[in-house]
Symmetry: C2
Subunit: 391 residues, 2 copies
């Protein structure tokens, strides 16, 4: 018989039991207009909140999740939940995003597959799933929906917007698009645009999905779907999330079978690193939708804070938020040089910006793993922002 | 009407018209025994030679090709041939591998698909193609077959063995396995073993082939075969052959269509880098066999000059060859650190070794592209080796 635990078994710095909530935003009269010009008259958004919005409504922090994240950033969904939210180490009483002080919000992105309207949702116009008829979306569209949610929650101005990777791109978009709605921006392991190598890896992942016979042009929801393709996309992406050193350290050339080489072409997972990647691929297919993967990687590719018609400095000219920018020395997907470029542009425009390159062996994924250094950066940064706001 | 050109249209430093030749090696009495213990009683080897073997038979240089190379390293196959051999810039009268001095040999590897016996060959025992019943092969097996070819050509000792990448691994294996048959070894953009990240990328490529419905467990020769999987494998591998800077420089975020973003999920190749990778994938499928790709990437994964039971220094203890080791500063698949490790081991054992890290923006592929610096290294190195041999 399973042990019955009361909520008190959660550690004191946990937000405890949480529930995903849903908001229905936009309407026939006020539809969501995408950057492409397409419109949706209704968008459901899955979100969670931790802590309490204070009476001044000045303590709200919005978390932007990365490519395959979701609204469940902290706490547990039920008492026997084995796994807490994806940034649980950073969110809770006394933690970097201190829920005894701040009202923390995290929402699934537009186009996602964890509760917010996306390609797998039913199109009310047709009664069928959107599939690839879902409007093409950009980081600007994602942020527009989240800004609407924040307004819906009765918040005019966020204390801070925080995110890493694709979440960091959303942070940048927020600060530039809604300068008077954001007091502080924390941009981690990210960049004002994806480098060509990143686009190349995304292209390989999408190709794997498109080429899978189970894809059926995106209309696979009553079938198995492009399981192999999606798993493959995850495998190649996963390599880019790790540093070469961390792969070497964790797996090296160690074999699955202690007995030595199999000398057998049918054996696909001989080295531990292979087995690990296959496992990551399989696990991913259980929790993620291939169409969402196509849409969101494209949003990542498209994102370019400056673009062809303005420099990065021009792009950040109207920013009001104080910035905290952090990169990781072993991150080769979003190298430090890109964070430096962002920092220079902000400084050039006279903005308040703190930049740190953190040393951490885990590559791009460091912002999800190595939370100690992040805590010592984010804690005082938010504290100061709140003090300045109230001064 | 096509212009008729005489051989004299070839530049003076070209080896001119060449023909691939074939040798049938091993026999019932003296079969090829693989490292795995498997045996083949007959192995065909496709090879080409450039220049003349002198009477002393001391001027032979053997070229080891990389993963997807072939025997056609220099010259042209017919007068209207658009493309010369893959290392034509390095092989010819007056070039680094000076065919007025040296007798240059290049042969397709065991398990390949360009004329040498491999999984696509017919098994004389069954009258059907081997497919995945072809024996599992290693770099040691490849070298054993090439050593047999060299003997077959009447050569007891090579002046030099030269190769890059997987070819460099063969160079190392030659120098260690047949120390008295190699006077000099030129090991370019290679390593005594593949790092875990390299294994990871190979694993993704193989997964793409295995997962393709056209693969049919390797028995696809009367059908289309795993075209999508093989193309995908090439796409991901191709990214690892280029440096991040060279991708950025060559493609950046430039679009295929000057008109701007398509905002269209059906459009798979929007950025130039995507279109380029798709093209590389498609072109590769026309010239390479998926089963060979599986076997040869596995050989690359398995290669470990030292292994569990000896250090790298111990592995090179009996080497007699003088070494030239070169790495490239932008090569992240075979980073300089691995060439340094090799060089240290050779020095520790008192071997003659020259090591250079070359600066070149093209990443791992530099050894196929930037031939000027290679020429100024290899030319004097071979010259000295020949002088020392005759002293």
């Amino acid at each position: 018989m399973a042990e019955v635990r009361s909520p008190s078994v959660f550690p004191a710095d946990s937000v405890g039991l949480v529930q995903t909530q849903y908001a229905s935003l936009f309407s026939e009269e006020r539809p969501l207009t995408f950057q492409s010009g397409a419109q949706l008259t209704s968008v459901d958004v899955a979100y969670e909140t931790y802590g309490r919005l204070n009476d001044r409504r000045d303590n709200a922090v919005f978390i932007c999740h990365a490519l395959t994240g979701d609204a469940h950033a902290a706490g547990r969904h039920h008492e026997d939940d084995d796994k807490p939210g994806w940034w649980d180490g950073l969110i809770g009483p006394g933690k970097a995003l201190d829920t005894s002080q701040y009202f923390v919000i995290c929402a699934n992105v537009l186009g996602g597959c964890q509760g917010t309207t996306g390609p797998g949702s039913v199109d009310p116009q047709t009664g069928e799933r959107f599939c690839l008829d879902f409007p093409f979306l950009t980081v600007a569209d994602i942020v527009q929906v989240h800004a609407e949610l924040v307004k819906h929650l009765g918040i005019d101005r966020l204390l801070a917007i925080v995110g890493g990777s694709l979440g960091g791109m959303q942070v940048l978009e927020w600060a530039v698009r809604f300068p008077d709605q954001v007091r502080a921006a924390v941009c981690l392991a990210s960049a004002p645009k994806l480098a060509a190598q990143g686009i190349a890896f995304n292209a390989v992942g999408r190709r794997a999905i498109y080429a899978d016979q189970g894809f059926g042009n995106g209309r696979y929801y009553d079938k198995d779907g492009p399981r192999y393709g999606l798993a493959l996309a995850r495998m190649v992406a996963h390599i880019t999330y790790l540093s070469e050193d961390s792969i070497e350290l964790k797996f090296g050339r160690r074999l699955q079978d202690q007995g030595g080489f199999a000398f057998e072409m049918q054996k696909e997972t001989e080295f531990q690193i292979e087995s690990y990647l296959h496992y990551q691929g399989k696990r991913f297919v259980q929790r993620f939708d291939a169409n969402s993967y196509l849409y969101l990687t494209r949003a990542m590719d498209y994102f370019d804070l400056s673009g062809d018609d303005r420099t990065l400095s021009e792009a950040v000219r109207d920013v009001q938020a104080r910035f905290l920018v952090a990169s990781y020395d072993t991150d080769w997907l979003f190298p430090t040089s890109q964070s430096r470029e962002l920092t220079s542009a902000l400084l050039q425009e006279g903005k308040h910006v703190t930049f740190v390159e953190l040393e951490c062996p885990y590559g791009h994924d460091s912002f999800l793993i190595d939370l100690g250094p992040l805590t010592s950066l984010i804690s005082p940064f938010l504290e100061q922002t709140l003090q300045a706001a109230r001064a």
